[in-house]
């Protein structure tokens, strides 16, 4: 079974978010593999181990190659190759345009299953994966916490309000991975060494016009001030005062 894993490089969680003139300033961002996508890589490698086949990692990013070292770590987990689609003026908040480029690249690969994280921790649209599936005419299952394969048939459990929905489907299909899906392995030293010899291909892709909505203004949310610390002689007095305020002041009880 051949699997493609879509990987998004996102600003790391320590990145300082600064706004200048209504625009988010990404000049100082350092990038990392989107954490949800790591679950997708781990799952793909587990399927490769049980079913055979090949795991191809596919990422769309700018010409900036500072991401290469971090991406290569995904090869150490056990994926076979990486293709990075390099796009001038790449933007992470264009799901429609980005999905089109990714879908076109996947058409050239012979894959049975596409995996990716449920969402990027940058723009939180949870859109690109689902859009890729639509563009390839494949079914998609999103927010999956448990994925099995038996005789070419997928069995996925996805998080829904108050529970889990189990969906079965033959391949090909696209699945977006939720946090609980697996535990991402720490690669052994020999796997890290091996990963340096695995194929890492850079491919230039054109920028495309898309109907993605353009952000006109970015801002930092209003800061929330700390309120009052409730004083009291003992636990009972503090609790009484708190309940009084929640009932009378906030009117939420």
């Amino acid at each position: 079974m051949n699997i493609a894993v879509l990987i998004k490089m996102v600003p790391d969680t320590e990145s300082k978010l600064e706004i200048n003139g209504g625009k988010l300033d990404g000049g100082n961002f350092k990038y990392m593999v989107n954490p949800y996508d790591e679950f997708a890589v781990e799952q793909a490698v587990q399927f490769k181990e049980s079913e055979g086949g090949k795991v191809t990692l596919l990422s769309l990013f700018s010409e900036n190659n500072s991401i290469d070292t971090d991406l290569r770590k995904m090869l150490a987990i056990g994926a076979d190759e990486i293709i990075v689609l390099r796009q001038k003026n790449y933007q992470g908040d264009k799901p429609l345009g980005n999905a089109k480029i990714l879908a076109d690249a996947i058409k050239e690969l012979d894959v049975d299953l596409i995996l990716c994280g449920i969402q990027g921790i940058d723009y939180y649209q949870a859109a690109t994966g689902t859009m890729v599936a639509q563009m390839l005419g494949m079914p998609n299952i999103s927010g999956v916490t448990n994925l099995e394969i038996n005789g070419g048939k997928l069995k996925a459990k996805r998080q829904i309000e108050g529970g889990l929905q189990t969906i079965e489907t033959p391949t090909p299909a696209l699945v977006t991975c939720q946090k609980d899906m697996n535990k991402v392995r720490f690669p052994a030293l020999k796997d890290i060494m091996m990963s340096k010899r695995k194929p890492f291909e850079n491919r230039d892709v054109e920028s495309v016009d898309s109907n993605d909505v353009v952000t006109s203004d970015s801002s930092l949310p209003p800061t929330r001030d700390g309120g009052e610390i409730i004083e009291g002689e003992n636990a009972e007095e503090k609790v009484d005062k708190l309940l009084e305020k929640l009932k009378m002041e906030a009117k939420v009880l």
């Binding site: 939180y124 649209q125 689902t130 927010g143 309000e161 929905q165 409730i230 906030a250």
Partner: protein, 304 residues
């Protein structure tokens, strides 16, 4: 003014509250058509707070299926010259929205905090940045729960969906309810959350869950105790968990890491109990109690 389609959802014999909120938002944006899909949902679906409702009641729509549901929505959008499609940011809406947007080649805005004819605002970086946009073309948007008051149910005109439903290879074989009877985090008006201060999984089960239950609240958790295996990820609030915006968020033994705050700082009121007076949670809490939660919680529980 534009033609707006609201995709509603049914829960039991009622329309979901989030769907009524979306209907209320839509009413300010133009001519509204509602759509409810499912099996045996006709009666409940009619309660959607819009003037014109299309009901797609079919055995093959029993469970959410990305392919089938998207085909119905797109068919209706094309037939009715729809220019804006609004959904609740639920497990269905967040999956269906992008699929429909791709099929129609429209822009997509996920998990919006604000939506209206003046524009849309959605959170980036777990709510640490707010992005505003004024889409020029047609758009699909999902709206976050509790961002708006719900519309009142009323009876508009109803018609049955008669278009095609695309065949799908997806087959739902089971719906499991996890923690039966408990309230879903993203839908709750009160959330009681526990963190590492509770010291053990047993204390979470014996203190947080019963308190939440007696308050009619959902039980939430910090990432630390989810990673420690005390509770499942479906309880996690924060960057890699759920984003909640209840009327009251009660944080117990949670220090308030930035990743956690991102998931709950949109709550109307925040109350925190923590023994560390310097815990970051107090910097955003409306009400704080500095003290030992093992002393305070039993008292609180007895007075609810």
């Amino acid at each position: 003014m534009s033609n707006v389609l609201v995709v509603g959802e049914v829960d039991g014999s009622d329309v979901k509250n989030i769907s009524q909120q979306v209907a209320a938002v839509a009413s300010g944006m133009g001519e509204v058509t509602g759509l409810v899909m499912g099996n045996g949902i006709s009666e409940a679906g009619m309660k959607l707070a819009v003037g014109k409702i299309i009901i797609a009641d079919n055995t093959s729509l029993e469970h959410y299926d990305a392919v089938k549901y998207a085909s119905v929505v797109c068919h209706i959008a094309n037939e009715n010259n729809i220019e804006t499609i609004l959904l609740g940011a639920t497990s269905m809406g967040k999956d269906l929205g992008p699929r429909v947007a791709a099929e129609l080649n429209w822009g997509y805005l996920g998990d919006c905090l604000e939506a209206g004819s003046e524009g849309f605002i959605r959170p980036n970086f777990a709510g640490k940045v707010l992005a505003k946009s004024n889409p020029e073309g047609p758009v699909v948007a999902s709206i976050r729960n509790n961002a708006y008051p719900a519309g009142e149910a009323w009876s508009g005109s109803v018609e049955n969906y008669s278009g095609n439903i695309t065949d799908s290879s997806l087959n739902t074989t089971e719906i499991e309810t996890v923690g039966a009877g408990t309230i879903e985090l993203t839908e709750a008006s009160i959330v009681v959350s526990g963190g590492r201060g509770l010291e053990s999984a047993e204390n979470y089960d014996s203190m947080i869950r019963p308190l939440a239950e007696s308050m009619g609240a959902a039980a939430g958790a910090s990432r630390a105790i989810v990673d420690a295996g005390w509770v499942s990820h479906s309880h996690q609030v924060g960057q890699t968990g759920k984003t909640v915006a209840p009327d009251l968020y009660l944080a117990i033994g949670i220090s308030g890491a930035i990743q956690h705050l991102g998931g709950m700082s949109g709550s109307k009121y925040i109350a925190a109990i923590n023994k560390d007076p310097d815990a970051p949670i107090f910097k955003i809490a409306d009400y704080g109690i500095v003290g030992d939660l093992f002393e305070i919680l039993p008292v609180l529980k007895s007075k609810i």
